[in-house]
Symmetry: C2
Subunit: 233 residues, 2 copies
Amino acid sequence: MTDTPFNSWQSVQEEVLARIHSRQWKPGDLIPNEADLAQEFGCARATVNRALQNLADEGLLDRRRKAGTRVATHPVRKATMYIPVIRQEIADKGHEYGYELICSERVLPPTEVSNIMEFGRRARAQHIVCIHTADGRPYVIEDRWLNPKWVSAKEISIFNEISPNEWLVTHVPFTEGEIMFSAMSAGKTEAGLLSCKEGEALFVIDRTTRNKQEAITSVRLIFAPDYQIETVL
Amino acid sequence: MTDTPFNSWQSVQEEVLARIHSRQWKPGDLIPNEADLAQEFGCARATVNRALQNLADEGLLDRRRKAGTRVATHPVRKATMYIPVIRQEIADKGHEYGYELICSERVLPPTEVSNIMEFGRRARAQHIVCIHTADGRPYVIEDRWLNPKWVSAKEISIFNEISPNEWLVTHVPFTEGEIMFSAMSAGKTEAGLLSCKEGEALFVIDRTTRNKQEAITSVRLIFAPDYQIETVL
DNA sequence: CTGCTGCATATGTATATACATATTATTAGA
DNA sequence: TCTAATAATATGTATATACATATGCAGCAG
């Protein structure tokens, strides 16, 4: 078989990848079972298992007990996007970060928001709007609704100094959430805050985070024109 | 100690998560080493290792040899997005899929494209524009450049029948790539193809895929208004 | 022919053990 | 005091073994 010994799961993974890329194993093909591969590669089954499991995690293989392992027919590529804290994102790009609180009020949220956050019907929530700037230029509008249960009235004054985006990360734990990407046209408000023209296309991220089902916060990030977010496969 | 035995790496992971969420272990904190945790949980070190390694993969823990394991200070949340084949995405939403080839030509690509794809300066490439429809309504424009090396002239006629998006997945292997999300305003062309108004905000995905550095294809997907892509944390 | 049962099989996982490797902490030397 | 060698330590990984679990498939009963 192979003369070089495959003595690490990474080398096994590479060999398997090579066989997929060379189309020796084509999408949909059933590949040999772990025991056989282990023998061929001259390593333990656990090592092969680690390699194949990792490739399955990345979506390149489909594995099922008894049915075996096959090359994914639809390499449903999982792109992992890193959602950074905004201040850090701006700093990483080499710009000077700035922050300005626009408004902070405790009011009844609109129904779209209270639906998403599954609030009681008539519960007030903290509404915060602020702006993050890069080298003084508007970078993104943060329009956030906060479950008041998670932030005391006293703590709210902190948002004069640092953004909810940043504060929440280190002070409120969460277990799950959703993220949505979309596009919108700048209305009068957005155009004003981002100093751009009305009607310009803006990139939008909506994010809701929860702690054991209970909504903590729901935020809409409206980015200045030409913003783009990149990730690698 | 704990009375229940932690006899699976999942249960260990849950316990660790619980401690993070309860803020018993706060962001930045150093947590006990694997051996100690294994003893406390009454399981093998390998089991703890599996759990912690998985949490580190998800970005919740930072691990370094000798330095130990600590709770991530900036839970750089990795959102994993599933990028499906368009036909499948439309079918999954319960709509009837349709496909129409708009144009297919072998021409010199514009410099933005040849830069990204790192083509030779004067190499022609296959340019394909097509539309995917859901229940007959335009869903997304696929504007693609193909490295002709990977698709023979004979094969190109296949794109009268099925979209490059779909064909490539099962016929051309790739090893890496980038994805970029952004927003754009509908110009005359886009408005025409998507039957929307000029100036409407559209969601855009740019994707380039390579096989060992060599560019295979670069595509811009321009979605109809109100498209949004969702993912969970 | 249909549906249920049980067996065979491939992956999933836990365990103990051993060694590898990275990195910090310490100590000896200039 | 600063620097370079060295020890100590936490994670990373390979191994053999054993058992768990899901599930395709064959065989059986209706």
